[in-house]
Symmetry: C2
Subunit: 89 residues, 2 copies
Amino acid sequence: MVRTPLTPWERERGERFGALLREARGERSMVEVAAAAGVSAETLRKIETGRAPTPSFFTIAALAFALDLSMDELAAACAPPEDGEALSA
Amino acid sequence: MVRTPLTPWERERGERFGALLREARGERSMVEVAAAAGVSAETLRKIETGRAPTPSFFTIAALAFALDLSMDELAAACAPPEDGEALSA
DNA sequence: TCTTATACCGGTATTTGTATCACGGTTGCT
DNA sequence: AGCAACCGTGATACAAATACCGGTATAAGA
């Protein structure tokens, strides 16, 4: 086993991440947003549904631009537990 | 052709992107930064040298955090020509 | 000189991302 | 009803990301 097969937490993170994108998409259709970002609609769907839990940086950059989102906020929203992880505290 | 085999421009973009990371790393060693970001040193090296031109979003997020970089600035620094491409103009 | 640490490079293995194809569902129009 | 158009979905195919291994080169220090 050479490549870590994505931990359950990573997959869960992918789902949360996709949910964020879907929420940001709002009323716009997948096709519309995907075209604006320059990716295929199927790719966008996989990312939104969490079936592509670790999409490429530039794909997300294009989608974030199309959806008018901040990359830093997206990353922060899916931040790893690091050490403290007080969560909602 | 099912998956676009990465255009020459995308590879070039990967090199520029890697150069940014290397510059931000400064004096710190690859191993040190890679460990801080939770990725292998080989992966960091490949990204820095442009041999991994389209890294995953969360890999870059971890590296950006370890290097204290802004994702938005990183994306902006490697922005596509879109249409206008007035650049510094 | 020998050892250590760092970085680079090639190959290999496995998993995953992305794109194309083909299907079912819904809506609107003739 | 028949048709086209759009949307979302599943299956499939290929390219690439990530990680591990060994080897090489350079520089610093004992």
